[in-house]
């Protein structure tokens, strides 16, 4: 707990469902339903799961870009869920986010220079325009773009280059923590590996801590030290990334891993094909949320939610099989 830069404790995000003329709340979408994890300084923590499992909502509610319904987030030992908006604004320079869509997350009417200088102006980091410009040029060099293109607009760049601009913008305020929400999902594989390598280099150079959110298991495994697997708003398993891939404990993790197509036609392996779709988070199943699709479902799974337990040192899972 002491060496954790970020500590998330029982985070919940329930979106109300409103209906009728009076907009009465008739239920909740439990997008994130009690997620806890610690992120150590300097490590990369991966969050994986399929669409709708709440990984993006987790990322955003950590930064309080959406206000979580319950739970605490500690950053550097301080509870940021209690902070006023002025205090929060100060601490935001330490926590930045890189978004998935390099097309939608840059202002099309800002030049690269304006995009990079905006956070410096908001956080009053440099006094003069010349200093800001110097810093913007530095940032571009750091992410591997030519400074001669500083006055260009986002549409003049390719997807990979735009994602580099997004990363440079996040770095502009010297953050400690970067939440990267599917930063490479929109990119082609050959460009994806360039951006992953860049993130790796930047982490070493600036001692960054990452929370890396993605649906691509091989990418998450490549970049993360530890990985948390989410299903329907809950964390189902958390372990060191090598350990998780070698010996997944939760049946969902096992199915997820076995579903990834391996680029080797001669590889033979057992495939677990899950039946059905992800249930709606507005109306989750009783007991363990995964039980309707689980191959090892027992009677207890239908009625009682499994406890989050440390099954072997550093390897957590929520599953009745390990009770």
């Amino acid at each position: 707990m002491t060496d954790a830069l970020l500590s998330v404790n029982d985070l919940k995000m329930h979106f109300p469902i409103r209906k009728g003329v009076l907009r009465r709340t008739v239920g909740y979408v439990r997008a994130v339903d009690g997620v806890s994890f610690d992120v150590k300084a300097g490590e990369t923590f991966g969050l994986v799961g399929e669409s709708g499992c709440g990984k993006t909502t987790t990322g955003r509610s950590i930064l309080r870009l959406i206000e979580p319904s319950a739970g605490q987030v500690f950053f550097n030992g301080k509870n940021i869920t209690q902070m006023s908006s002025t205090e929060m604004r100060k601490i935001r320079s330490d926590m930045q986010i890189v978004f998935q869509d390099p097309y939608g997350s840059l202002n099309p009417r800002y030049t690269v220079q304006q995009t990079l200088e905006e956070p410096m102006i908001i956080h009053k980091l440099y006094k003069s325009a010349a200093e800001r410009k110097k810093r913007a040029m530095e940032l571009l060099e750091v992410v591997g773009l030519s400074t001669s293109r500083m006055n260009r607009y986002p549409h003049e760049f390719s997807g990979g280059q735009r994602q580099r601009i997004g990363i440079a913008r996040a770095l502009a305020v010297n953050p400690k923590l970067i939440i990267a929400d599917e930063p490479v999902s929109a990119l082609d594989v050959s460009v994806q590996s360039q951006v992953l390598n860049l993130l790796d280099d930047l982490q070493k150079e600036f001692h960054l801590t990452y929370v890396f959110i993605a649906h691509d298991l091989s990418v998450v495994k490549h970049i993360s030290n530890r990985v948390g697997v989410m299903y329907l708003g809950k964390m189902v398993e958390l372990a060191e990334s090598d350990r998780l891939y070698e010996k997944p404990l939760h049946p969902y993790t096992q199915a997820l891993l076995s579903a990834v197509p391996i680029p080797n036609p001669e590889a033979k392996r057992e495939r677990i094909i899950l039946q059905g779709d992800l249930p709606s988070p507005a109306n989750p199943p009783s007991g363990c949320y995964f039980h309707p699709r689980c191959q090892s479902c027992m009677d207890i799974c239908k009625t009682t939610a499994p406890e989050w337990k440390e099954i072997e040192p550093g390897h957590f899972a929520a599953c009745h099989l390990y009770n």
Partner: protein, 326 residues
């Protein structure tokens, strides 16, 4: 020739404000009965344009300038619209990447499946509906009798893709063109859909032209692969050959840049730079700007597809043995 589909050196161009620019050039491949051929490449390499050319579904600013597309010996390029309509959806069917937008939101599922049955098979409404229910069952949709009267928005992404497959299967096509059929889906759902496609192929002995950017999907599904880069075929061969002995530097780079699940790599090998844009295509080899083995000859002169082994060729000067001395 007994090939089901024979595409020979087609060139498809699109009208832009800089005049006609070729999106694909000199693309040739064959597809036998019951075979699964994969076309892989990154965005903008022309894989979708290739499939749309085969289907004759190019937008009005696109045209096939050269080459022929023979389906069972008939050249599709010269067919009239009404002749093409008899083939499309009947003998060649297509499924698209985006199951959310390729279904019509204002028509019930049943009606969308029945449409081609009534058009091509001359069924009446009741027959078509009964067949639609059967088809929904065969693609693994539960409660098919009820789903047939639902609208597409009531279904999840995976279910919609199943409906798309049911529509494609309606007239027992000989060829199914699947353009990124699982890209919009989650991995566990992707596994279900790939499994379904494998089953259908076995059952109906249907040929599949599978367009994808995912080498993993190719390795699992295909018999042969065509790798495309910047509008050209850069390598083709059997799946085993290509994965065992990738020969074009682009194919090698592509395979290396995927993070592997089974092993830990300190650093991912990557291909530097970006795909050149259509109007700024290099004169020589199109990959020359990003290739680590580039020579003067590559910049000056474009290579042809050169044999690597039997049934395996690559568009690279390195394949000419005397050129290998670098």
């Amino acid at each position: 020739m007994s090939s089901l589909l024979e595409v020979s050196s087609i060139k498809t161009s699109f009208l832009t404000n800089k005049g006609y620019l070729p999106a694909i050039e000199d693309v040739s491949f064959t597809l036998d009965k019951g075979e699964v051929l994969g076309i892989v490449g990154e965005s903008g390499c022309g894989k979708s344009v290739t499939s749309l050319s085969v289907m004759q579904l190019l937008s009005t600013n696109g045209k096939i300038e050269k080459g022929s597309i023979r389906f069972e010996g008939k050249d599709l390029v010269n067919l009239s619209d009404s002749e093409m309509r008899k083939i499309r959806g009947n003998e060649i069917a297509m499924i698209f990447q985006e199951p959310m937008t390729s279904l019509n939101p204002v028509h019930k599922i049943g009606r969308q499946i029945s449409e081609s049955l009534m058009l091509h098979k001359g069924m009446n409404k009741a027959q078509a509906r009964a067949k639609a229910v059967d088809l929904l069952k065969s693609v693994g949709i539960p409660r098919a009798e009820q789903i047939v009267d639902e609208y597409p928005h009531r279904l999840s992404g995976g279910m919609r893709q199943r409906v798309m497959i049911a529509i494609a299967m309606a007239c027992d096509p000989k060829l199914l063109i699947a353009d990124e059929p699982t890209t919009a889906l989650d991995v566990t759902i992707q596994a279900q859909i790939l499994d379904l496609m494998r089953k259908i192929r076995k059952e109906y002995n249907m040929a599949i032209l599978l367009i994808t950017h995912d080498l993993g999907v190719v390795a699992e599904m295909c018999d042969r692969v065509v790798v495309m880069y910047a509008g050209k075929v850069v390598e083709q061969g059997s799946v085993r050959e290509i994965f065992r002995n990738p020969s074009h530097p682009y194919t090698v780079g592509l395979m290396n840049s995927i993070p592997k699940l089974e092993e830990r790599q300190a650093r991912l090998p990557s291909i530097p730079g970006n795909v050149p844009s259509l109007e700024l295509m290099p004169k020589g080899c199109r990959f020359a700007t990003r290739c680590e083995f580039v020579t003067e000859k590559c910049i000056q002169e474009e290579p042809t597809l050169l044999p690597v082994e039997e049934n395996h060729e690559a568009r690279c000067w390195l394949m000419k043995k005397e050129e290998v001395a670098i």
